[in-house]
Symmetry: C2
Subunit: 210 residues, 2 copies
């Protein structure tokens, strides 16, 4: 019992540390964030933080995992069981851009940072590759569902459309996280992405509900 509670406390501290680190990194930058700043913010000793993360690379990997978990929880929470594939894809795209917009001061900066680190340091190549491959796979899943449901009619092969949508979505997310405040308005996103989906899939945009 005591052990279990100890494990829970440890897991919580690890995740809490990653969340606190995310905010520090989003404000100050990765190189500028120190274990001392993180320990001070958490009200624990530096040794306690170092027990969870022996170095900043380990901390970065945990921040990426936390960011992905948070993003998936938010975006998947928007999907509704009675939406057709067109609307599920729409909610996926809009949800991701809104997530980036609302997490400009947190996880979305970790997304940009991962691009930066992966481009310069081989030890982040796998993490970057897994994240982007996962993102592309999620889009392809929506596209194939739409094809099965007879909603989408592709003029190019679905893998090419998925790659385009993936680049477009990540481009839009990175833009939402970096562009001056007010450049991206949540209100216009659904209409814009609906046009995009129609252009790429010939979806008729009329949701069918069972």
């Amino acid at each position: 019992m005591a052990k279990r509670s100890g494990t829970d406390k440890s897991a919580c501290t690890r995740e809490k540390a990653a969340e606190a680190a995310t905010k520090l990194v989003a404000r100050h930058g990765f190189a500028e964030t120190t274990f001392k700043m993180l320990a001070d913010g958490l009200g624990v000793s530096e040794a306690e933080v170092l027990r969870h993360f022996p170095n900043k690379n380990a901390l970065m990997h945990e921040m990426v995992q936390t960011m992905i978990r948070h993003n998936h929880a938010v975006v998947d929470g928007l999907l509704r069981a009675d939406d057709d594939a067109g609307y599920r894809l729409l909610r996926h795209c809009v949800g991701n851009v809104v997530w980036a917009l609302r997490n400009r001061g947190a996880g979305a900066q970790i997304l940009i940072l991962l691009y930066s680190l992966a481009g310069r340091r081989k030890e982040f190549a796998d993490t970057f590759d897994r994240m982007t491959a996962g993102g592309r796979q999620r889009i392809l899943k929506h596209l194939m569902a739409g094809k099965r449901e007879g909603m989408f009619h592709f003029t190019s092969d679905p893998a090419t459309i998925a790659e385009l949508l993936h680049h477009s979505l990540f481009g839009a997310m990175l833009y939402a996280a970096a562009a001056p405040e007010g450049s991206v308005k949540e209100a216009g996103l659904e209409a814009a992405w609906m046009k995009v989906i129609i252009a790429l899939t010939n979806y008729d945009g009329q949701p069918t509900r069972p």
Copy 2:
């Protein structure tokens, strides 16, 4: 005469400094790159470098301008006067991704860095905004030319298509700069982007030459 030669030398050193700084930043990161490293690399005194760039923000702005000039020179150099609008747009997209791929260790890292800095620090908002607005404008110009030439038939308004293509192109460039070596192959780019352009513009993909 002496003054003119002095000015030329100064301009050259400023651009050379920005180029050298770009390589250092692409390798070590922005925070990790010091004026001392830059001066050592150039074989000049730190005071000489500081005469051009009073601080790292000024250096970053020059790196961005150098990166944009280089990108435009490379991409515009690919356009051929006898290409129709569809092929000009194709060369624009492929050229930008190839530029990012070939400049993974230089300018393309400055592109990622600008996203990172703009998201965290207001003093880079204008620079980021000008760069992305310029990129979107260049795409819109190609789209409108294709419409005038009777090559493109849009199912959505051109501004929406331009925004999608812009996000997709920047997304693809950032991916090319960050993804593990070999993830993006130059050989496949032209066919993939031709499919993208056809999907978005209903371009028939048959170049017309006068």
